[in-house]
């Protein structure tokens, strides 16, 4: 839905970005001066001052992550900020930001939140960012919500998941070969929980399904991506002859 005009506007904004940001700051500074000089701003002036467009990328990034209902990737944050449709005459101070800028801002917020001990963390899971309460506060949160401890996965479910996570795509028979027990029931239940999914079919006779983990798997265990899985114990090498 981007018109040519807006494109042009964006282009223009690129050129004048620095000046514009300067102006914005000047505006804010004026409001502050006024507050100091006149003693107090009245309530309306305060609201107006707070509504001046945010000038720091951190502010905007933090707001987007907070308001998005699901974890949001740094790219999605960048696109939303960079490509916002502008009002006539408006320039976008963030027209040139990169994903790396966004990630830097996210990292800063995460560190500040942690340092200030505010009870919430900004975390990256499954390729997206979200706010969540700190683990040490869980018992109090549950007391407030009158909630029980959430149900956790059984040993057999965790073992099956571990094998699938490290060896995906993998057929059921291969999982059974490693665990030494039948896993059809567990695999079906894990599918229903959307922690695993069928990712294809094997070339083996009967063309059995191959299974892999889902993004929800990463969320469940608080993993950024599959690379974050700990390395399998290397001291357990191949069996000595």
């Amino acid at each position: 839905m981007k018109s040519k005009e807006q494109d042009a506007g964006g282009q223009q904004a690129d050129d004048v970005k620095v000046e514009d940001a300067g102006e914005q700051q000047a505006d804010n500074a004026k409001a502050e001066d006024k507050a100091k000089a006149g003693g107090k701003m009245n309530a309306a002036e305060e609201v107006l001052a707070s509504m001046a467009a945010a000038s720091s990328l951190r502010q905007v990034v933090g707001a987007l992550v907070f308001s998005n209902p699901a974890p949001i990737s740094a790219e999605a944050v960048r696109n939303a900020i960079r490509d916002r449709a502008l009002e006539p005459g408006e320039v976008n101070p963030f027209a040139k930001i990169t994903t790396r800028d966004v990630v830097a801002a996210l990292d800063e917020i995460a560190q500040d939140l942690h340092r200030l001990e505010l009870g919430i963390d900004l975390v990256e899971v499954s390729g997206g960012w979200r706010y969540q309460t700190q683990p040490g506060c869980g018992r109090w949160v549950r007391a407030l919500l009158k909630a029980d401890k959430p149900a956790r996965l059984s040993k057999s479910a965790l073992e099956t998941l571990a094998i699938i996570a490290y060896r995906q795509p993998i057929a059921r028979s291969e999982i059974e070969g490693i665990r030494g027990v039948a896993v059809d029931h567990v695999v079906r239940a894990l599918m229903e929980m959307h922690l695993i999914r069928a990712t294809g079919r094997s070339e083996l006779p009967g063309r059995p399904f191959l299974y892999g983990t889902t993004p929800l798997f990463l969320e469940h265990f608080g993993l950024k991506n599959l690379d974050e899985l700990a390395e399998l114990d290397p001291s357990l090498g191949a069996a000595k002859a």
Binding site: L153, E159, I163, G180, V181, M193, E219, H220, A230
Partner: protein, 263 residues
């Protein structure tokens, strides 16, 4: 052997499979996984299966297959090493090698599952704005996946606790059987019906003789198996509660009726 008996009475069944049980035995006796004393491990493995049978737990087929392979390996290690004519000893493959490979591979993933469990425990303490829990929770209410469910082992342990405090009645003369499972099933259903909940321990009258307690327990197991009642335990070592199950219909369970007919 008595101590092994005691031990295996309740521990068996918590193992995820034959490999899990073998790893436990190896770890317990601090054995070298690459140099398993096959004779010893086979003996202990069989003792555990024996314990399982005593508990009347169906020994899963996988456990029996492993028992057979252990015996096969054992017999092969007993065979004399064949010597070639040229005097050089044949590089006979260690008959244990396949088993060792399998155990090592399984152990890797068992450890990885342990790491996942710790991660999950941390995540289970985190909440989103609005109070939603971070981990995937309650989407599949599948008994096979849930840790919180009371296992047969927990029930048997709780039952053993109750039996322990009960003196064995001296046998003066043999009495006919006074209690029947169907009767007890009816009694429990009546109690748990219409959303009733009661403590596991309340099920057993303080003065009830052992025979009656055992029959009551069997009735409870039958009802759980049929999903007519549920056993719930809110935390480790916490009290076990029995509550009415999902099965529709408040009347006496079919199985009870069937059993009465055949009795």
């Amino acid at each position: 052997m008595a101590s092994v008996d005691e031990e295996c009475r309740f521990d068996v069944g918590v193992f995820e499979g034959p490999l899990d049980l073998l790893l436990y035995l190896i770890h317990r006796d601090e054995l070298d996984i690459y140099d398993i004393p096959i004779e010893k491990i086979t003996r202990q493995y069989m003792a555990y299966l024996e314990g399982m049978k005593r508990l009347d737990i169906d020994v899963a087929g996988e456990f029996l297959v492993m028992a057979a392979s252990l015996m096969l390996i054992k017999s092969r290690t007993l065979l004399p090493v064949e010597r070639r004519g040229d005097g050089e000893e044949e590089e006979e493959e260690d008959p244990r090698l396949d088993l060792v490979r399998q155990l090592v591979e399984y152990k890797k993933f068992k450890d990885a599952a342990g790491t996942l469990m710790v991660r999950e425990a941390g995540q289970a303490e985190c909440y989103l704005a609005g109070g939603e829990v971070v981990i995937a929770d309650g989407q599949a209410d599948d008994a096979a996946l849930r840790l919180a469910d009371v296992s047969i082992i927990d029930l048997v342990k709780a039952f053993a606790e109750i039996l322990k405090n009960r003196p064995v009645a001296p046998i003066d003369h043999l009495k006919p059987v006074v209690w029947s499972v169907p009767e007890k099933i009816d009694a429990i259903v009546k109690r748990a019906g219409s959303g009733g909940t009661f403590r596991f321990t309340e099920l057993f009258d303080d003065k009830a003789p052992r025979g009656e307690i055992i029959v009551t327990f069997l009735a409870l197991l039958e009802l759980i198996r049929q999903h007519k009642v549920k056993a719930r335990q809110d935390g480790e070592f916490a009290e076990i509660f029995i509550e009415g199950g999902d099965a529709p219909g408040g009347g006496p369970p079919e199985a009870a009726a069937e059993q009465r007919e055949t009795a």
